[in-house]
Amino acid sequence: MKRRRFLETSAAASALAALAPAVISRARAGDAPDVEGAKKEGQVSWYTAHFDTQTAEGVGNAFMKKYPGIKANVFRSTAQVVYQRLSQDMRAGVAECDVFSSTDVGHYIHLKPSGVFLEWTPPNAANVAPAFKGLDPDGQYYVTSVGLICITYNKSKVKESEVPKSWPELTDPKWKDQVSVGHPGFSGYVGTWVVEMRKLYGWQYFEKLKAINPQIGRSINDTVTMLNSGERTIAAGPEATTLESAAKGNPLGVVYPSDGSLLMVSPSAIMKNSKHPNAAKLFMDFLMGPETSEVYVEYFQAPILPGIKPAAGAKPISEVKTIRPTIDEITTGIPEVIKQWRDTFGV
């Protein structure tokens, strides 16, 4: 038992270590954000793909409560849509976005060489859980949100004992017409999940999935709708949003797969050409602060600060076996799997 625990923990730790380069020392100490300057600027525009609109609005409202006089404009959509929007802005030479939060780490790898991100270390960056520190050695983007992709199911249609316990079981023919997934062309979560499944089980995994006719949505949160409606029975879904919906009384449950739940680590960055640099810095710092983690817990998202307990019914990430592709695999993989997905599924 002890050995198993050790193996699990070290597997988790090494998976997390894969994304925390040891070169933390290069991160520069940042100046504290200028609250007065931020208040003069009066607003901050946040492009985010993290969590769902409700949670994003919750964070925005909490920010406005702490700093009255600074308005948080929240634009929440799926990762590829947000990225498209930002690319469009950049092509038009327009600086609309102040803080960019995507769930596709590849976006940051693509954009960083163009020098569009501000290099700055928020004071709160030192307080996040060690596993989430140091994502970018140059301090241009930081982890501000984490989540898990698990196997989710509709309790009123299937018993927990019958639900697949590992990812390959999800493609079993007995689940024909009963599975729901998102689309990697929209969602960063789904894109990362597809990359990881391809890595572990090859693209045959998706040929098998196609054979059982899954319902394909857009966001990974679409799976929650599909399960709620009873249209589908099981899904590769987001732990947090599913639990959030279950807490409202919907018959939803979560299973943590034995071969590992997918750990999503989502960064945020400040745009260098931001029109509200002080407000942006303040907001970025806020994202890594205690108020935000408390909002996360309220909406069943995982907190990124140690010492804050997750919501009832959600397991702390440190206790779950997690798997994750490397940053390079995500960066090259997501565009590839989007194309492969379209060829296989036709949409």
């Binding site: 498209q84 469009q88 030479g93 327009v94 609309e96 929209f186 319902q215 966001s219 929650v224 018959p251």
Partner: protein
Amino acid sequence: MAELSPSLIPRAARLREPDGLRARLRRLEPAVVVWLLLIGLLLFLVVGPLLMLVVQSFQHEGGAGYTLENYFAAFTNKHHLEALENSLLLGAGVAALAAVFGVPVAWAVSRTDMPGKDLVRVMVLGAFVTPPYLGAIGWILLAGPNAGWINRIWMALSGAEHGIVNIFTFPGLILSIAVYSYPYIFIFTSAALDAVSSEMEDAAHILGSGGLRTTLKVTLPLVWPAILGGLIISFLEAIALFGTPAIIGLPAHINVVTTQLWQLFEYPVRAEVAAAFAMPLLGITAVLFWVQRRTFGRKSFVTITGKGGERRLIKLGNWRWLALGYTAFVSSISVVLPFLVLAQAAFSRAWGRGFSLGNLTLSNFHYVLVEHTTAGRSIIHSFTYAAATASLALLLALVVAYIVNRRLLPWSGVLAFLCVAPFVIPGIVMALGYYAAYASPPIRLYGTAALVVLAFTARFLPIAYTNSDAAMRSLNPEMEDAVRILGGGRLTVLGKVVAPLLRRSLIGGWILVFIPATRELSAAIFLTGPDTQVMSVVLYELSGEGNFEYVAALGGVLLVATVVIVAVSSRLVGRDFMLRRG
């Protein structure tokens, strides 16, 4: 007698001055200035972005140099071609089905003594104000293969293993769009039918034709321009929709042009290929437009004349129950059933729990109206932009329709084409054209309300124009000639005779633009900024996230507010004196 003294020369001759430029300018009608201004506006609204789009389709990625490679990339790709084919089929299917729904209902309401007409009109209005993507969600609840209510009831009643309807199919997609498109055909057809006096039907009866034959051979052909206009609008709207194909088409594995264009804007962005891919759609408009002109060029559809006319209703006898039944069927699938399931979700804590007292709540409304930072403001924005769009579009359309129908300028046909062309460009592509042309320096409209309103105006100009054109055709020039003979200029004609006579059509046209503008999604999704957020985008985003209760609540607010606004404006307008209502 070599010269006449000045007092003997007629006044008009004395006033004739030498032909200099200033002299000619002084003789210019004020109307011409207005024409020129409006033509300039049309160029800015339609030609500018279109031109940018065409230029872009020939550009290399990144901007430098010209090439045909975009066209190769766009049209040698199997997925792209399939998407194009799907779009065309979808458009044709939607237009046909919408006509099947709309024409009989319009005829029954306008020309027969079917009971319950006011209720029917309310139902049609309900279908019209419903955003297609909201209706699509309602339809998923009704006809999802496993959990749709229709299927559940069927399985319970008949003990079958599977349901009988599946919304996630091509016919399902067509149905879910057609039930919200048929109001266009209804409105055009019934407005035209309302104006047909019974004299021609009487003539047919006198000559021995029975009721149905008269209807099919005399009445309906008289309103053919209106029906065709409605068909074209339905077709074009269907191929330009983004929301419903994303919500229903995607799970059904149906890819259409709009969703394909969306994919071309994923990273890495291939805007140039997208521009090339959009070109055939432009060609389709040209063809449709040409067909319409050819079919109706010479024939006369004049029904509004200077002489009075009476419109009598056809007595259907027992057939009116059949008519009512059909109308009730159309209303229930478009309005009643989807609204029921959406209302259930709007008032539920968790709609998965079904109908139960413990599940009732108002908290969803509280969330969307109070807690959500952008939803409340987006409601106001949607309505203000829509009103501005409708006013601008209708003004422009009326003037252009007048110019075209009375042939006031050479090449007026080109103007007409420009007015109709934008509709075939999917909203996304139009938005990108606007983005490319006007968002960045030097014009810098990005993030402003003006950009949204202008793009919407261009997008809905075709509806306004088709409506104004059909209305203009029904007007016999004799009344305008009377005004001019009595000394009025063109503007007087427009303002004091044409507009009042066509007031019903114009108000109808305004509402026809206002309502789709409030729920426009595909153009809005690219052009709205944080300060100019609109409801359709907020709804679309919420729908992708499992927050179904909020979608239903916000959608409900949109619907109620729209209905109130429309009801108020209809009341204010009153009715046209010449057409007695039976």
